[in-house]
Symmetry: C2
Subunit: 286 residues, 2 copies
């Protein structure tokens, strides 16, 4: 934990130093607000860890670490518009507190700022770091598109789902770690290994999140338990349940998916089906 405290201090110091311009207020005040909503700062921590793992003082990658966090926050601001989400970390989202145009344009300029910070590396590392980051940013956009596409589709396969969450979530974790490793001078092979580790970490994390959404302790989870079930979200649990169900279980699942007027009953019935079909244990072992 001592290590994490040190990382936290490095990030907070750098964040304080990199305040947004004062004008135009309409562009930068929403960003100041959004960044103060906090968050775990997991992604920039990974960049510091990636550097330290290969013997570099993590302070040397504070710039790109913050760049990764700014990029993540840019995607959240735009995703919140696309998901019509009113709240983020218990507070109003930017498009709710201000308006659509502000959320689009402030998001755009945050993206610009994120790349500025990402490029705060020695010139010799810039081409590799930038190419990795841009490939990742493109995949994150593609992941968000797949996610929206899947909402409209009748069925999604397990491998399609895995690819979607990898693009939407995991690749940025891999990228965060690998940027630290590149700047620390890791070999190509080691840099690839640490990227792959980030990819696995992100995917496990997302599947765990799917499980918690249905079976988590409401006191600890912090979000509404059963939210995915009510939204008929094609999570790993639902995909596996539809795959493993016998005829009767499938009919019951389909009946509950179509039913939207009894939320508590729907959550309980579908959770039971997740257990009966073996989807829960299969997801836990995924």
């Amino acid at each position: 934990m001592k290590e994490l405290t040190k990382f936290s201090e490095i990030l907070n110091k750098k964040l304080e130093q990199s305040s947004f311009p004062l004008e135009p207020k309409g562009l930068y005040q929403p960003l100041d607000y959004f960044m103060r909503l906090g968050g775990k700062r997991l992604r920039p921590m990974l960049t510091l860890m990636g550097a330290e793992a290969f013997g570099l003082n993590p302070e040397k990658v504070a710039g790109p670490a913050i760049g990764i966090e700014l990029f993540h926050n840019f995607t959240l601001i735009h995703d919140d518009i696309m998901d019509a989400a009113p709240l983020r970390r218990g507070k109003e989202t930017v498009h709710k507190k201000w308006n659509l145009n502000t959320a689009i344009l402030s998001g755009d300029v945050l993206f610009v700022d994120s790349i500025k910070k990402i490029s705060e590396v020695e010139s010799k590392h810039l081409p590799e770091v930038l190419a990795l980051f841009l490939k990742t940013a493109q995949e994150v956009c593609e992941g968000q598109q797949w996610d929206m596409d899947f909402e409209e589709r009748e069925s999604v396969s397990e491998s399609e789902y895995i690819k979607m969450i990898q693009f939407k979530t995991s690749v940025l974790l891999g990228c965060a770690l690998q940027i630290g490793a590149i700047v620390a001078g890791a070999s190509k092979e080691d840099a690839q290994h640490i990227y792959d580790f980030g990819l696995t970490l992100g995917t496990s994390f997302q599947i765990k999140d799917d499980l918690l959404d249905a079976f988590g302790d409401p006191e600890k989870f912090g979000k509404q338990v059963g939210g995915d079930i009510l939204a008929n979200k094609k999570t790993m649990l639902l995909i596996k349940a539809l795959e493993l169900a016998n005829e009767e279980q499938r009919a019951s699942l389909e009946k509950w998916i179509a039913k939207n007027d009894a939320p508590t009953e729907k959550i309980n019935a579908i959770k039971e089906l997740f257990e009966e079909t073996g989807a829960k244990s299969s997801t836990q072992n995924a």
Copy 2:
């Protein structure tokens, strides 16, 4: 003109080579559509010119030239949302033909792609080219914010207006030229000169556009003449008219600005006031 034809061929060839991925369709088809709407391709031409002016084969900067054009198109897709514009170059805008989410996300991934192309330069030029481009991209966002802010304000000064159009329009022309010059190995001083030339070009172009919007030949202008007048847009003409008007002219201007039920009369009356106050000739000489 032979020079322009050569530049055009270089750009078209590079554009053909840099087609978007096929999947996810929902993300990339709108970009394919939007890029095919055409346009003058003025900005990428400037990058080729900037390179040739300092003795470099312009084909060597085809990548960053296309990057500048992609960036410009990204800003158009997002601006069209913010301005609630139904048409662009006579065809449906992305948010109209598809929807809001598509216009946001396809715009975002186009921005990523633009930076990929911008960074297609020799490693030794990358830090300078990238820093210039990111500074410019930030200014373009700030210019769009000022433009939206000015719509809500009662008065805008001439110098505020000039700064807004410089950020929104001119800096990208300067950047386009300077990137060509940097890659061609121009001296810092020369690179700055060509940037300043682009800045002046862009500003003159925008003020000329303000004049054409009121006094242009409807057959040649291609847009509705008087559109800015009907929208009460604080263009150079209106700013100067309000500044130069005597008491009577000002009262008349304010009366017509508030009046929205007689479009043809409004356009004619305000054009007359632009002439009488001397705003037209002062703008022509700006």
